[in-house]
């Protein structure tokens, strides 16, 4: 049961992220345009924020996060 609940949590993470990409793509396709460089920068910054958080949690668990995050 613990694994199933964890799978739901991870799936929620994936869906919340995927829905944002899907909305961007759908909006661009509906407008007949492409994803802009600003939107790509936003997504790249989201990665940096997530990686920074993971590094902090790795350090909190006594591990050594990889260099160069962010």
């Amino acid at each position: 049961m613990e694994n199933a609940l964890l799978a739901i949590q991870i799936l929620t993470n994936l869906l919340s992220l995927a829905s944002q990409a899907s909305q961007m793509i759908q909006a661009a396709q509906a407008a007949g345009t492409d994803i802009t460089s600003e939107q790509l920068t936003t997504l790249a910054n989201q990665y940096t924020a997530a990686a920074t958080q993971l590094s902090a949690d790795i350090a909190a668990k006594g591990g050594t996060p990889p260099p160069g995050t962010g």
Partner: protein, 191 residues
């Protein structure tokens, strides 16, 4: 529910995605990750259901034969709740997975690049979830994050290259997305 069956299952899931792609049904990394998570969760939940069903059958046989004292109410109640929760998890996972499969399909370079960035972020976020849940060690999480950082750099490079050479940029993006797929499959085996 150990790790071994997931490791054995992962190549077959990858092969299934390849077969679907050969038939013209190509799933992006987010969709593949959602399907893998859906399958892993469903199998795990069904495993719990089978396990608790076995417990109920055992309880029933003991009660019928009257060879021992009846099971404690706590044990019987826990088994029922566990079984119903497992089925609820399956329903939730199926509903969520179907929603994910309705995502828009990325066609242009920028759209695929957006999917790549989000897939990379999703892997990092899921790794963080697994780390906090104690499913993976800090060392494993650090290793995955290092690979994600490399793939983020690969996506950045593909974006830069595409500005001057669309073909090379597209090829580099495709390679990065393939690596993201592999990393997603690996992550699914750790749940």
């Amino acid at each position: 529910m150990g790790l071994s069956w997931k490791v054995v299952l992962a190549p077959f899931i990858g092969a299934a995605f390849g077969w679907l792609a050969s038939k013209g049904l190509s799933l992006d990394p987010n969709q593949q990750a959602a399907v893998i998570t859906l399958l892993a969760g469903a199998v795990t939940a069904l495993g719990h259901w089978w396990h608790t069903t076995s417990i109920n059958a055992t309880i029933a046989s003991l009660t019928t034969a009257k060879t021992s004292a009846p099971p404690s109410p706590t044990q019987k109640g826990f088994a029922r709740v566990d079984q119903m929760s497992a089925l609820a998890c399956v329903a939730a996972l199926i509903a969520a997975g179907c929603s994910s499969l309705g995502l828009a399909t990325a066609t242009t370079f920028n759209e695929k690049l957006a999917v790549g960035y989000e897939s990379d972020t999703a892997i990092v976020t899921s790794t963080d979830t697994l780390l906090k849940a104690g499913k993976i060690t800090a060392q494993v999480a650090s290793n995955i994050e290092a690979q994600c950082n490399n793939l983020k750099a690969a996506l950045d490079i593909a974006n830069t290259v595409e500005m001057t050479n669309a073909t090379d940029g597209g090829n580099q993006l495709a390679a990065a997305l393939t690596a993201l797929n592999a990393l997603s499959s690996y992550l699914a085996t750790l749940q």
